[in-house]
């Protein structure tokens, strides 16, 4: 009974015509799938072999040299104290992957900044909706004095430990 019902279900696929308790749920899903394929008896539209995303490495622009100066600049912009060996490895890998984009011909293509570019977006009215929350907001911060957020002096450039710059200089000689 199971096999016959499956064929009926697959061919007709109209819930109203099916008697209540006989449904695909009583057949093992794999069988229903298998029957579907046989009944169709034509080639599936799903590609049975992978479509290889090949990017011709020769078309790529020359690799960027990641040197100490660059690393120091990035660290200054990022302030994450990550311009060390591990950070460099990650950075190089990220650049290596990003370089593959250069093979795409984008002549005459406009950058897409937002998928909503063709829609009219609403701006909020310029009205004050909330306030009087200085206590709650100051409570979020670790260091406050009176109604002020506290920060150390801002005109001093952050200098990293000499140690790992030395390391980087050495390793750059090897790569």
């Amino acid at each position: 009974m199971a096999l016959v019902c499956q064929r009926q279900i697959v061919l007709r696929c109209s819930w109203r015509k099916l008697p209540p308790r006989i449904s695909v749920s009583y057949t093992i899903p794999q069988q229903a799938f298998a029957t579907a394929k046989k009944v169709a008896d034509k080639e599936s539209k799903v590609p049975q072999h992978p479509v290889f995303p090949s990017i011709n490495e020769e078309d790529l622009l020359p690799k960027t040299v990641v040197d100490l100066k660059l690393v120091q600049l990035l660290e200054k912009l990022s302030l994450v104290d990550f311009a060390n060996m591990e950070g460099l490895v990650r950075l190089k890998a990220a650049i290596s992957m990003a370089d593959k984009l250069s093979v795409v011909n984008t002549e005459g293509v406009e950058p897409l900044v937002t998928v909503l570019e063709n829609r009219s977006l609403t701006l909020a009215e310029d009205e004050v909706r909330s306030g009087d929350m200085s206590e709650e907001l100051l409570a979020c911060a670790k260091e406050t004095i009176e109604d002020y957020f506290v920060v150390p002096p801002g005109n001093i450039t952050y200098t990293e430990q000499k140690g790992y710059h030395h390391e980087l200089e050495n390793s750059d000689e090897d790569t």
Partner: protein, 517 residues
């Protein structure tokens, strides 16, 4: 605990008939959360808030009023959505002590609808990852083959028969399967029955990936339909709040509650999804389903291809027109993402300084030193790596070659979709992940960046184009792990997308996991 198994439609009927009370349901959910605690889906359990909401819900049902399809329903919220008065950590040290003074719009809408928020779920730190193993608070584990005892049930709605074909016992050597990411905690909370629904966020597949591994429905709505106000930003041009549920109807109900224009998010647009009602018996009549050939990428497991093939064939036999299509720039999508994501991250993360909120490392001599030390201590290597890379791509001499180029490639990817829709295709059917859930031992051998580059292949492009996409669990493999597929639709066609998803759900009858306690 049968009450945690059903759809929210069933549960709300019971609540209305007083066969079940909101408080009982809440307690059942909290108890389930306890039973599955070692899967670690939650960072914070909000039991007090939950009981309060449940109590109010119960009073409403008592007086005959109820706020709609979500009234009294336990839900979970990913820990990158701000919840007023409840710590919101993003899985990071940086925000470990952060208690927002406001709630995200989607959270407010859920609360207004009477939903009972039982906890904040675990995630890869700041949403960066595809396994939920990169959280400061430890990994979340997939419930399948985890050692938690469960049955698999054959029928869609009632526990009619056990499905004993699949193994459910724990895997050996104390290994476990990853939950997927970055919204792994939310996926596990739904899969385990701790909640009926959960909020997640999807930037490159972060809802659909864990939904695929955990065998639940995971929807990424069209960009702009659901407010991002209060969702802690990762990539502003791609982030979308995402929805998890065990049934397509449940996800549709949640979408009707959270979607809609928000004056506090200028990237939202009006929609009529608030009155969304899926047809009881959706039909495939007249639908044209596209199969993008590029989505069969190297490394995809045969069982995924077989499932994809079988569902495509099934849909064709049942009235849909199925045809092969091409999205030629698919192979560049992941690379494009690997540029645009760090660029936006580098910009967004300048806010984490330790001055106004969050973690702070003292350095009295210099502000820059304080910033660097704070950020170094508060952000993990994945995050720091992206900030560095992003700043590299945004350097004056690099901007055209990387950032602008990526934006142009993004347009090409988006145009690929437009061309397919214009050719008469209504929906696209594709795999979600290259395989079923990966074992932790295997997953951990590959670094986060490479892992994402592989796993996000099929999910990423939908974020590039802003189109809606949904994960639908189809079947289990011989190891008892879920295999899922993805449907994508033109921007704004979320209702049509969910209708077709419901059709698939009704026809494949995915074995339902029931936790035994």
């Amino acid at each position: 605990m049968n009450r945690l198994m059903g759809s929210i439609g069933d549960v709300v009927s019971q609540l209305k008939q007083r066969a079940l009370s909101s408080m009982e349901l809440c307690e059942a959910a909290l108890q389930r959360q306890d039973s599955v605690a070692r899967l670690h889906p939650f960072i914070t359990c909000t039991s007090d808030v939950a009981r309060e909401s449940a109590s109010l819900s119960q009073k409403r049902y008592g007086s005959g009023e109820n706020r709609g399809p979500l009234d009294g329903i336990p839900v979970a919220v990913k820990d990158n959505f701000c919840t007023s008065g409840i710590q919101t950590t993003c899985g990071s040290v940086m925000l470990q002590n952060y208690v927002p003074t406001y709630s995200a719009t989607v959270v407010k809408r859920l609360q207004k609808a009477g939903a009972v928020i039982v906890g904040k779920t675990n995630l890869d730190e700041f949403g960066m990852g595809s396994g939920t193993i990169d959280s400061t608070f430890g990994p979340s584990k997939n419930i399948y083959r985890s050692g938690i005892k469960y049955d698999l049930l054959l029928s869609n709605r009632e526990p009619d028969g056990l499905d004993s074909r699949f193994p459910t016992a724990a895997v050996e050597d104390e290994d476990w399967y990853v939950a997927g990411g970055s919204s792994g905690g939310s996926a596990v909370s739904v899969a385990s029955g701790s909640t009926f629904l959960a909020l997640g966020s999807d930037t490159g597949g972060s809802v659909r990936n864990p939904a695929s591994y955990c065998g639940v429905v995971g929807l990424k709505p069209s960009y702009g339909l659901v407010s991002r106000c209060g969702l802690i930003s990762l990539v502003n041009s791609m982030d979308v709040p995402g929805l998890f549920g065990r049934y397509v109807d449940d996800v549709a109900a949640m979408l009707s509650v959270v979607s809609g224009l928000d004056p506090q998010d200028a990237t939202t647009v009006p929609s009529d999804l608030q009155s969304l009602q899926l047809p009881e018996n959706p039909s495939l009549e007249g639908l044209v389903i596209g199969i993008p050939k590029e989505y069969h990428c190297p490394g995809m497991k045969k069982e995924v291809i077989d499932t994809w093939t079988k569902v495509a064939d099934l849909m064709e036999n049942c009235g849909a027109q199925v045809r092969e299509v091409s999205l030629p720039h698919t192979k560049y999508s992941i690379i494009c993402y690997s540029v645009l994501n760090p660029c936006e991250v580098a910009s967004n993360f300048t806010r984490y300084t330790g001055v106004f909120y969050g973690h702070r490392v003292e350095s009295s001599h210099s502000m820059e030193a304080m910033y660097a030390l704070t950020r170094s201590a508060g952000l993990n290597d994945v995050v720091k790596g992206r900030i560095l890379a992003g700043n590299y791509f945004l350097l004056k001499e690099n901007k055209n070659r990387y950032f602008k180029q990526a934006l142009k490639v993004r347009r090409l990817i988006s145009q690929d979709f437009d061309k397919v829709w214009s050719s008469g295709v209504d929906l696209l059917l594709t795999p979600v992940t290259l395989s079923t859930a990966v074992r932790y031992s295997e997953f951990n051998n590959v670094d986060n960046r490479t892992q994402q580059a592989t796993q996000d292949f099929c999910t990423q492009a939908a974020n590039m184009a802003g189109v809606p996409a949904v994960n639908i669990p189809i079947s289990l493999n011989t190891e008892g792990l879920p295999i899922s597929l993805q449907l994508m639709a033109p921007w704004g066609q979320d209702a049509a997308l969910l209708s077709a998803a419901k059709w698939i759900e009704q026809h494949v009858n995915f074995p339902r996991l029931q936790v035994l306690e």
